[in-house]
């Protein structure tokens, strides 16, 4: 029983982390329909930036905020210089964002060396509580809390403001949105920046979780983020949340009960979900 609780808690924490990795992509790919293969790069920059800032400032909060700022700054440059000319064209997007991905992850090596770096958990969040044989790792609980907060914040913004609607409308018919007097360009830039910032936040939060960061981490986790966005249903924040939790839980339960399958776990999950519900968990039909 305790074993199951452990699996549940940790699966949930992983899920929440995966959600944090994916939430930026939910905005950029799900909502804005930009096939961003560079997402992993943003994410890795968040991780490196966070670790570096934590080392320099000694404040974890500053590190997280700094990572988000780094992510947003990169997002701003990326959107203005390479994404803007290729909105609406997935083929071109694949190429430019792959280019960005290469540049971003190589730049990491230039700035921080090609070696893996250690990432520390701030003292306040390190250690764990033990209840019986259930081990509650503080940092993971922290990640769950942050995940929920980000979820609520993004949901709130999308529900309370027109931004989500405008972006969706802009993807469907940019001209018409402009003809309604909306400066769609600014809004796209903004949303892209927020998506990039969230990606960086995800990276910065992942770093202490696994204890070590490395320049290839970007591509590795980007695919996971894509899986989450797609099985959640494009652009649905709830969908991403649910999908991420599914990924987390299935990961930990498979590894425990069906270890032979765990290598294929995420792919199987995606196959099953998509064959049963072709537009993802929360995706609109058609």
């Amino acid at each position: 029983m305790d074993g199951v609780i452990n699996l549940l808690v940790n699966g949930l924490a992983t899920g929440m982390l995966v959600f944090l990795l994916a939430v930026g992509l939910t905005l950029i790919f799900g909502l804005m329909s930009v096939l961003n293969f560079g997402h992993g790069g943003l994410f890795a920059w968040g991780a490196y930036g966070g670790v570096w800032l934590y080392g320099v400032t000694g404040s974890f909060v500053a590190a997280l905020i700094g990572a988000v700022v780094i992510g947003m700054a990169l997002g701003w440059m990326m959107e203005r210089w390479v994404i803007r000319p290729v909105y609406g064209n997935h083929v071109q997007q694949i190429l430019v964002t792959l280019g960005v991905m290469l540049v971003l992850s190589e730049m990491l090596k230039v700035v921080w060396s090609p070696n893996p770096l250690k990432a520390d958990v701030p003292p306040l969040l390190s250690g764990s509580w033990e209840i019986g044989s259930v081990i509650l790792i503080k940092y993971r609980l922290f990640v769950i809390v942050i995940g929920l907060l980000v979820f609520l914040a993004v949901q709130l913004v999308l529900k309370k403001t027109k931004i989500g609607l405008i972006v969706r409308a802009g993807v469907m018919n940019k001209e018409m949105v402009q003809a309604l007097g909306i400066h769609i360009r600014t809004i796209f830039t903004l949303v892209f920046m927020v998506g990039a910032g969230l990606a960086a936040l995800g990276g910065a939060l992942l770093a202490p979780y696994s204890g070590v960061i490395f320049s290839e981490m970007g591509m590795q986790f980007a695919i996971l983020a894509f899986i989450v966005v797609v099985i959640g249903g494009m652009g649905s924040i709830q969908g991403s949340m649910l999908a991420a939790i599914l990924v987390g839980l299935s990961g930990s339960f498979l590894a425990y009960y069906l270890p032979e399958l765990s290598l294929a776990g995420n792919m199987l999950l995606m196959v099953i979900v998509l064959l049963i519900k072709p537009s993802g968990l929360f995706g609109a039909k058609g």
């Binding site: 074993g3 699996l7 924490a13 204890g211 070590v212 981490m217």
Partner: protein, 404 residues
């Protein structure tokens, strides 16, 4: 981290006159005009995930040539030139680069490479072109096993040697061991070999766990390991996405389970603070071997690379270079494969890790490995491998697995 390029630019200027040449070398350079140089192609990952390994090999190789020729870069009257190529850790690139080395540069030896896949892909070329290849630091058993051909020598240790060393460090009669490794050829082979060695020493394997090397969460595996209540947890791991943090989070050590693994390079040790106190094995750490070659290596390395010490695979690169120079010495400058092979089979040579010997049957270099404990040391920002005992080449000799 620009040192790699230094190494490479230097190789390019090799043919020009060297400033630090001794007068004898200058004299010797006269017959060198008649004799063609000995050319060596070094394959290494200079970009990609294994970049730092590749760079260690290259540095070590360069130092090794200098050491073995006493700075003359000349052997048996022939100049030594070496050309470094980046395999990018992609088998097809490795083959392309190897072909280029063999065809265009007409190298006499191949050395490399950082990944087992790249190396395996190049093995048939060595056979095709009848050139000796010294494998360094690729670790897969099959290189000197099922896929081996007679042109292949290996100065690197193989998976089985690692495993035997790992077992020797912890396995005893009655010890219960759990294992944890990435689910893949590397992890599974490593554990299989370890299991064989450990059971031979009387230990029992109570749990084997394999996980996706790229997974975010290893909790489930760790839970199972804890449940099996082993005395030791032996971990075989490669890649940066390591489980150490999670093993600590899950309080594995607090529950009386001792961790054991192979000590990695310094950059990775820095991320292993949690493992202070662990007992395991090491392929190399610069304070472990006590011999003159290593002393020279540490000093020379510090001198050339502003104070850095040699790392995990630096001595390997050096050993490869030394073995080649020694072999050419033995053949008196003949670089044809057959005489070289006969010269190298059974050849012993001094390396930073003591004496290595190319075993006749599979050309694997038998070598010392080290049982170590990770300790915290003042002024060092990572847990330092401290020698418990040196595992002799005979003790770590792996089984012979070449095809009959």
């Amino acid at each position: 981290g620009n040192s790699g390029s230094e190494a490479k630019t230097e190789t390019k200027t090799e043919t020009k006159t060297e400033t630090n040449q001794t007068p004898t070398a200058t004299k010797e350079s006269e017959p060198a005009k008649e004799l063609p140089p000995v050319k060596i192609g070094v394959l290494a990952s200079l970009t990609g995930a294994l970049e730092s390994y590749g760079k260690q090999t290259v540095r070590g190789f360069e130092l090794g040539i200098d050491y073995a020729t006493e700075g003359t870069k000349t052997v048996a009257g022939r100049k030594i030139e070496f050309i470094v190529e980046d395999t990018e850790t992609k088998p097809d690139v490795a083959v392309k680069k190897a072909t280029k080395l063999l065809e265009t540069d007409k190298v006499d030896f191949l050395v490399g490479s950082s990944s087992s896949g790249d190396t395996l892909a190049v093995l048939p070329l060595a056979e095709e072109y009848k050139k000796v290849m010294v494998v360094e630091p690729a670790v897969a058993d099959s290189i000197t096993g099922a896929m081996w051909n007679k042109y292949i020598f290996r100065t690197a240790r193989n998976s089985s040697q690692d495993a035997v060393a790992g077992a020797a460090a912890i396995a005893k009669q009655g010890v219960k061991i759990a294992t944890f490794a990435p689910d893949g050829a590397f992890g599974r082979d490593g554990i299989a070999a370890f299991k064989e060695a450990a059971t031979k020493l009387g230990a029992t394997i109570v749990e084997e766990q394999y996980a996706d090397a790229t997974a975010t969460d290893f909790t489930a595996n760790i839970q199972k390991i804890v449940k099996a209540k082993p005395d030791y947890l032996f971990v075989v791991w490669a890649g940066a996405n390591t489980p150490w943090k999670q093993l600590q989070d899950m309080k594995v050590q607090e529950q009386g389970i001792k961790l054991s693994t192979g000590a990695p390079d310094i950059a990775a040790l820095k991320t292993m603070q949690e493992l202070t106190g662990m007992e395991g094995f090491s392929v190399y750490y610069h304070t472990l071997p006590t011999n003159d070659v290593n002393k020279w290596l540490v000093e020379e390395h510090k001198k050339r690379f502003n104070g850095e010490v040699p790392d995990l695979f630096t001595p390997g690169g050096m050993s490869a270079a030394i073995s080649i120079v020694e072999a050419v010495k033995k053949t008196n400058g003949d670089t044809n494969a057959d005489p070289l092979i006969s010269a190298m089979e059974g050849m012993s040579f001094n390396t930073p890790k003591g004496t290595m010997t190319f075993r006749k049957e599979d050309h694997q270099a038998l070598q010392s490995l080290y049982a170590v404990k990770l300790e915290k040391q003042d002024g060092v920002d990572y847990p330092v491998p401290v020698l418990i005992r040196e595992l002799s080449p005979e003790e770590t000799a792996p089984p012979i697995r070449t095809k009959p």
